[in-house]
Symmetry: D2
Subunit: 133 residues, 4 copies
Amino acid sequence: MEGYLYRLDFKVRDYECDLQGIVNNAVYQNYLEHTRHEYLKTKGVDFAEIHREGKDAVVVRVEMDFITSLVSGDAFYVTLKVEQKGRMRLVFIQEVYRSRDDWLMLKGKVTTAVVEKGRPHPIDDLADRLRTA
Amino acid sequence: MEGYLYRLDFKVRDYECDLQGIVNNAVYQNYLEHTRHEYLKTKGVDFAEIHREGKDAVVVRVEMDFITSLVSGDAFYVTLKVEQKGRMRLVFIQEVYRSRDDWLMLKGKVTTAVVEKGRPHPIDDLADRLRTA
Amino acid sequence: MEGYLYRLDFKVRDYECDLQGIVNNAVYQNYLEHTRHEYLKTKGVDFAEIHREGKDAVVVRVEMDFITSLVSGDAFYVTLKVEQKGRMRLVFIQEVYRSRDDWLMLKGKVTTAVVEKGRPHPIDDLADRLRTA
Amino acid sequence: MEGYLYRLDFKVRDYECDLQGIVNNAVYQNYLEHTRHEYLKTKGVDFAEIHREGKDAVVVRVEMDFITSLVSGDAFYVTLKVEQKGRMRLVFIQEVYRSRDDWLMLKGKVTTAVVEKGRPHPIDDLADRLRTA
């Protein structure tokens, strides 16, 4: 992924692998989420804190293409880019790469919104802060 | 979802909820997977068994639209339809409904393939078995 | 387990199994917790609700003896007894049995407390409600 | 914990927190397991590899005392000591500390065995390798 804004390094944990000996599909969503939340923190946006303030960042759509499976012992990293879609949607383009050979394992696209008291909230300000490194 | 082939009933478990008090996004993938595997069993296809035989059913693409969040205490059910896509792809159309009002919570589309010794395997026979109730 | 107060039925979900093909150890804690919370609900105590009221039921100690491993496909049930320990501790004696032969898979002992604004709260009333079927 | 053999650093991931806003109890078992497996690797013992060779390291007993809860944003580390118990048992003494103040969050004791074709296997050699830093 060229020109990503943020990268977070991980290591597969054995309990994340399923009986096929590969990381379970659902776990990749955890990896993507953790990367987004860590990125938000570098921008001064704390997921747990905004929840306590009555706003919630919610995922409205997830798309993931599984290319190669991570296995026990693999080190990997997740990258992230941000795009705004209209006034209400923030889209995270995320990819997972195996560290030893920079091999692309997964391509993800996560569309999010901010909700306050059940109603969508414009995300222009947030988008401006998040789209720059 | 009209004309679904299979339906599985669930109840939210509190450990599946995150600090927003709603079921964490990644957990829905677990729900969808468990429903697929239970459906496969009704057709005599056992996920763990085919793994031991050297074949693996793998997910190649996931799409999920999150409509309403499940919360602690919710009972819900997951439905499933199957479509064949070419000779190599089996697509599961899955939806999650809240039981008390049949409200649509999530729409999912999971594209899978069968791999044997790292190579894709035609799924025609499997598709024939799975597409009928 | 003789004279248990409550029993909840489960089925192993494949994503709960690890690369050894057995249910991962940590998942049993999930099973025990879900059983406790479901039991509490039958007594009119809702874990999510008491949290919103400012009280929190917390686990202070867990002991688990792993006897036989659950595997993919197993149906099982979790039982529960309640004991009071002093004025501040509620102890759940829990066991996991495989359904097809009532074989004991795991013995657990979970000691809990109620905390309000960071301070322990006497549990006499709660204990009286919970110790009877 | 004085004289520990190994230490692994972690950061809480938001998906590990439950609706109380704290790390779910079962997740600590994941932390302890990952630390043990990483330690084993430093000693040339790979959990996934020995499984493929037909041996399995299994947990027979877990004891955990929960002292203070980890919350979103916390950095922490897990320590580990090893004790042999008879010819068949390897005991891992593990503790979890919050990084910013070295505050003890959890004390754990995990008793393990090695099983080959369903039968316990003496662990003397393994114990010798693991008990020294």
